[in-house]
């Protein structure tokens, strides 16, 4: 519905709410009634705004912190669908809010385009995503001491499943070991690769070392993804992975990248940007809180995520992250490592304007929140004469 009234409220209500009202109101609606609706919406909106001087950050901290103390008491590990052991509960929340670059269990949920999302070749696809080394294709590996050569028998069946020919493997091996070794298929079995050192002085010891090295050669799949598990989520088949590589997964054409997620916030920041990272923080924290059956208003978490991502990069809530960004020396010193902060600020001659809460508590002054904000100024008689 269109009306002039909407324009009137443009500066009083957020765009989104106006849009919602526009959609919700029936086509034939009197102006006076619409006026009433908008006025009511405006009142509700104004009432639900945080008042000036409200300690939103502290309330958010308390609202997340209080349920977290209960979480410590019932830390149970998830024996979920997968056999993967994913960090959840308090350790995970700490990990996210601390802004750790290396998280303990990286995980992805990869969604697919049709027809794969309906379960077509799901096992094969899953296997193709997984990072595989030669070790997994080797049936048998042995060293012939007399001939000083090594023979590897490959798992034909497994190779066929991912469409890899023994010849391709030889090529990969030749690339990985460009000098000093000779690879060729065996005469009687094309799934057996013979390996021989080209230099004659090479001793047996080296061959044994090589045996380990050869097995670690990367063959196919996506690097970083160590485990795959096809799962049915609702009507869709997806693949849950251990390890994460958003960038390379995005390149796969059969992947529905719009829905694919990882739990590595820093990777999201690198690949998709800071706004996505902010949303990821919210999602990850909310996920844990929901799992534990607790109830925290998402707006508190949004505030925390905003604080963490507001500077353009993800900062943790610790002395290397957002606390470092605080302008007040006393506030920083009261958090952790006070001596470091006091001395460094003395060297650079910092000024503390005592504008936030903790400094004012320290010097026993009125903190600038709540009742500490309004001020009454009275012109004294003396000044009035001047």
């Amino acid at each position: 519905m269109e009306s002039k009234l909407f324009k009137e409220y443009e500066n009083q209500l957020p765009k989104r709410i106006i849009e919602d009202i526009k959609e919700a109101v029936p086509e034939k609606f009197s102006e006076s009634k619409l006026k009433k609706v908008l006025e009511l919406a405006r009142e509700e909106y104004v009432n639900s705004l945080a008042e000036p001087g409200e300690s939103v950050g502290l309330v958010a901290a308390e609202s997340i912190g209080e349920p977290s103390t209960q979480m410590t008491l019932n830390t149970f590990h998830f024996a979920g669908v997968s056999e993967m052991n994913v960090t959840t509960g308090l350790p995970r929340i700490i990990e996210v809010l601390d802004g750790r670059a290396e998280i303990s269990t990286k995980m992805m949920q990869i969604y697919f385009k049709k027809p794969y999302s309906e379960g077509k070749d799901i096992k094969k696809i899953a296997e193709s995503i997984k990072e595989t080394t030669l070790r997994e294709y080797i049936q048998e590996i042995s060293i012939d001491v007399a001939e000083a050569q090594m023979s590897m028998t490959l798992k034909a069946e497994k190779l066929a499943r991912v469409d890899i020919k023994p010849g391709q493997i030889i090529k990969v091996l030749e690339k990985s070991f460009p000098k000093g070794y000779q690879f060729r298929p065996s005469k009687d079995d094309d799934h057996t690769i013979m390996l021989k050192s080209t230099s004659k002085e090479d001793d047996l010891n080296n061959l044994y070392k090589l045996k380990e090295k050869v097995q670690d050669v990367y063959i196919n799949g996506i690097k970083g993804i160590t485990q795959v598990l096809p799962v049915k989520r609702g009507d869709e088949y997806i693949v849950v992975t251990a390890g994460s590589n958003l960038k390379d997964v995005a390149k796969l054409e059969f992947v529905n990248f719009d829905k694919t997620v990882t739990n590595d916030i820093f990777e999201i920041e690198r690949v998709l940007g800071i706004e996505a990272a902010r949303q990821a923080i919210i999602n990850e924290v909310l996920k844990v809180i929901d799992e534990q059956g607790l109830n925290v208003d998402p707006r508190h978490i949004m505030l925390v995520a905003d604080t963490m991502s507001g500077s353009g990069t993800v900062l943790g809530i610790n002395r290397y992250g957002i606390v470092k960004e605080k302008p007040s020396v006393l506030a920083r010193a009261s958090f952790e490592t006070p001596i470091k902060h006091v001395i460094n600020s003395a060297i650079s001659g910092e000024t503390d304007y005592l504008r936030s809460v903790i400094e004012n508590v320290m010097i026993n002054q009125v903190v600038p929140t709540g009742t500490g904000i309004p001020k009454l100024v009275v012109k004294t008689g003396k000044k009035a004469k001047n």
Partner: protein
């Protein structure tokens, strides 16, 4: 080749590890090796470990041969007649001690009926898996494991009858129960440990029901009539000790009624209980501030010139007085000498402790609770035959904690009290619950232990039948009398000018970091400022250099020690702790300059 290690040192090899260890064990049973020596043959690594070191927990078990216990009826008979003893059984190789390592190779049967050909050992008694305190819990097999640990932990704190010579002893912090009783529901451990000699609780009648909310959150309601008749009554003993110390130069402390010109003289009233020898008279009722042992010490520092100085020869007051909140009756005065030959005065104070709101009580199943209300006897619910419970226990404490034994003990206690006998509640070997129930029924009660009860306030019968029975309750040494504390004003610390900490120093109750946050969250800034102004000071600050100035009260003017008189100096109110912080910064060479701005600009 099997490697053999002795106390984790390699000593050699044998060909057959299994046979070797079996041989050693056989010889140990014959007495050729010390009985504390244990041997482990580890099959998977093919190694033998011999252990003789100290610090291993070892425990006795009965040796089993060919699926039969080596202990025979004859042995038991001889044991009963005291013809043989424990050591004889060990010598005969019937009982041996295993350490955790050797237990790895042992297969220990729980009871004799369980024995198969594979078993190597038999438990002496299933009760063996429990410690002393835990075996004192009746019907332990019906409880959750945690409750047993908690129950035994709390039993150690029970007020009881700790030693029969208590009258001649001076111990720290002693509680003595006035009418200790042996539990009706006993375990075998009560007999083994001579529990009759040092009981620590009383058999009470307990009803499981709420009582107007006064027993919520694990509290218990206690019958004033029972308290008046002596339930849970105890005496608290505490010594006050002082020593006549010797100092260099032939000086020494003196136990006297201090002279009035002694430095630090209290008031005359504080010394009123002292006899001529400077020690309190026995049976005097003393309270906080009263001097127990009057003492003076020589001056703290003696300089050579001081000998002619009259004021420096004044002795110091160093009497022992009762601290804040303490009171009691002088029970015993003991004069003696310590190892160094100094005169030692020990005074024992006594105080009767009648159960009051806040005192802690516990059943033997980790069901602890404090008294929430002492109810006059006429208001306690009564049963058909007029029985009033001593303690009313809230049923909400039971489901989550699953202390089933608590309920069974009540039935057991009821049967024992009515039949006039002790009930055996030994864990794994107790009397059967069904037998107890049957006995209760034959005594004319409902077999489930419930009875119709009447509210003493309205006189009406409760709709629900109330579960009522007897059980053993213990009073724990945590009493409110030792813990209550409050303060409105009081001593402060010298350094920070903030209130002192702790009950003994009449300290303040800290409003901590998180409590502070709640003030901020409510936006109560001005209240927060007021709450934290315990150490506020007014400091004159020089506007020019930003340092703290000096107030000259004679001229009624402030000046700056650095910039002089001709600068503007303003008074600023701030916390003393912050002033101290600035001083600390100055002391390590940082110049904290304060910039002032008028609040009204």
């Amino acid at each position: 080749m099997v490697e053999v290690f002795m106390d984790n040192k390699f000593i050699g090899t044998v060909t057959d590890g299994k046979k070797f260890s079996e041989d050693i064990i056989a010889q140990r049973r014959e007495g050729k090796f010390p009985l504390e020596m244990n041997i482990l043959y580890q099959e998977d690594t093919d190694q033998v470990f011999v252990e003789t070191s100290r610090g291993r927990t070892i425990r006795p078990v009965i040796v089993v041969k060919d699926a039969k216990s080596t202990i025979t009826a004859k042995h038991l008979e001889q044991l009963q007649k005291n013809e043989i003893s424990w050591t004889d059984l060990i010598k005969q190789g019937i009982i041996e001690y295993l350490d955790p390592a050797e237990e790895e190779n042992a297969y220990i049967a729980f009871t004799e009926e369980d024995l198969t050909a594979e078993h190597t050992h038999l438990e002496i008694s299933p009760l063996d898996i429990l410690g002393l305190c835990t075996s004192l819990i009746p019907f332990g097999q019906f409880n959750q494991g945690v409750r047993l640990s908690q129950g035994s932990k709390n039993q150690k704190q029970a007020v009881g009858f700790y030693a029969t010579n208590f009258f001649n002893r001076i111990d720290m912090d002693v509680n003595l129960l006035h009418y200790p009783q042996v539990p009706i529901v006993k375990t075998i451990m009560h007999d083994i440990s001579n529990y009759e000699q040092h009981p620590s609780g009383q058999n009470v009648v307990i009803a499981v029901m709420p009582y107007d909310g006064y027993n919520m959150e694990d509290a218990v309601v206690i019958n004033r009539g029972s308290v008046d008749r002596g339930l849970g009554r105890s005496t608290y003993f505490r010594p006050v000790v002082s020593e006549e110390l010797r100092y260099p130069g032939g000086l020494m402390d003196e136990i006297v009624v201090p002279n009035k010109d002694v430095k630090g003289y209290r008031t005359e009233k504080d010394y009123r209980f002292l006899e001529e020898d400077g020690i309190v008279s026995a049976e005097s009722k003393v309270k906080e501030g009263d001097v127990i042992i009057g003492k003076t010490s020589p001056p703290r520092f003696l300089n050579s010139g001081d000998e002619y100085n009259l004021t420096s020869n004044i002795r110091r007051e160093s009497s022992m007085a009762l601290e804040h909140g303490e009171k009691g009756v002088v029970d015993l005065v003991l004069l003696s000498e310590n190892e160094e030959g100094n005169r030692l005065i020990q005074v024992r104070l006594r105080e009767q402790r009648i159960p009051e709101i806040g005192d802690k009580f516990i059943s033997r199943h980790g069901q602890k609770g404090v008294i929430g209300m002492v109810v006059p006897e006429q208001d306690i619910p009564f049963s058909e035959n007029g029985m009033r419970p001593d303690i009313i226990f809230n049923p909400h404490g039971l489901p989550k904690r699953m202390t089933v034994a608590h309920l069974i003990e009540m039935i057991g206690g009821k049967v024992g009290a009515l039949e006039g006998r002790y009930i055996d509640g030994t864990t794994f070997g107790s009397e059967k619950e069904s037998d107890l129930r049957a006995a209760l029924e034959s005594l004319g009660f409902k077999e489930d232990g419930t009875e119709v009860m009447y509210s003493a306030i309205t006189g009406r019968a409760y709709t629900a039948r109330i579960y009522i029975g007897n059980m053993y309750y213990q009073r724990l040494k945590h009493m409110v009398a030792n813990k209550v504390h409050s303060r409105a004003r009081g001593p402060i610390q010298l350094l920070t000018r903030q209130p002192t900490e702790g009950r003994a120093k009449e300290g303040g109750l800290r409003l901590g970091e998180m409590e502070k946050d709640t003030f901020v969250a409510h936006g109560a800034s001005l209240l927060l400022k007021e709450r934290f102004d315990s150490d506020k000071t007014v400091v004159p600050i020089c506007e020019k250099c930003g340092m703290i100035g000096v107030y000259d009260s004679r001229k009624n003017k402030s000046y700056c020690p650095i910039c002089g008189d001709n600068v503007e100096i303003n008074n600023v109110e701030l916390s003393y702790a912050f002033k101290l912080f600035m001083d600390e910064l100055k002391s390590f060479g940082i110049y904290p300059k304060m910039l002032l701005k008028s609040e009204y600009e």
